[in-house]
Amino acid sequence: MGIAIKFFASLREQLGREDCELEAGSVQTVAEAWVWATDDAVMPGNTLMALNMEYVDADAVVSDGDEVAFFPPVTGG
């Protein structure tokens, strides 16, 4: 199935990246997913991370079929 990667809002525009899919087993953690999906771009210090739609830290472990998302501070409401 692979690992789905999503970027949102200003972070997506800054990176110039679309959502992508990594091969299963290619990464172990959310931090590694960032490196592979962005060609090792510098991660802004305020970047938020979600794994399967729950907030996580960069060292969260990812598995085949997971969805990983990166986004800037939220500004809803």
Binding site: K6, F8, A9, S10, E13, A50, M53, E54, Y55, A69, F71, P72, P73, V74, T75, G76, G77
Partner: protein, 146 residues
């Protein structure tokens, strides 16, 4: 309990009224507290012509449902309603509605405020403003105190 993401304009007080009519708790709730956030036509000193609101389909609803359940449990609420607009928004239009119903007023006041703070600090929504010259992403939300 209801959470909904809305892509077109909505009339917040009509929504509250309609939802309340459908509730089974008539005569049980003594208190309803409602908060509506609307788009202002200025921000940080600039005139804002319109706004684009992005969200994370799936995670956003899940997060709003999670905080709704938490508020219902913590304040023993009888019901709650959260509506949030996405897409293109113009000044004076409603962006967010939070409504809660409880037996007593303290619970309603506290839960509605807590829900708004949780929503603003953690719910995955992002605003992009269209100014007279270009666009900009809103960098961060105000803290609780402002």
């Amino acid at each position: 309990m209801k959470v909904d993401i809305i892509e077109t304009g909505f009339e917040p007080f009509a929504e509250v009224s309609h939802y309340q009519t459908s509730m089974q708790a008539a005569g049980k709730f003594g208190a309803a507290a409602v908060f509506v956030g609307s788009m202002r036509d200025f921000n940080e000193g600039d005139t804002v012509a319109q706004m684009w609101l992005e969200y994370y389909p799936g995670m956003t609803e899940k997060y709003l449902e999670k905080i709704s359940r938490e508020a219902i449990e913590r304040w023993d609420l009888l019901d709650s309603l959260i509506l949030h607009r996405v897409g293109r928004i113009r000044p004076a239009e409603a962006i967010v509605l939070v409504a809660v119903w409880s037996a007593h007023r303290a619970a309603a006041f506290e839960a509605s405020r807590w829900l708004m703070e949780e929503l603003k600090s953690r719910a995955p929504f992002w605003k992009k403003e269209t100014l007279s010259e270009g666009e900009r992403w809103v960098a961060k939300n105000t803290s609780v105190s402002t």
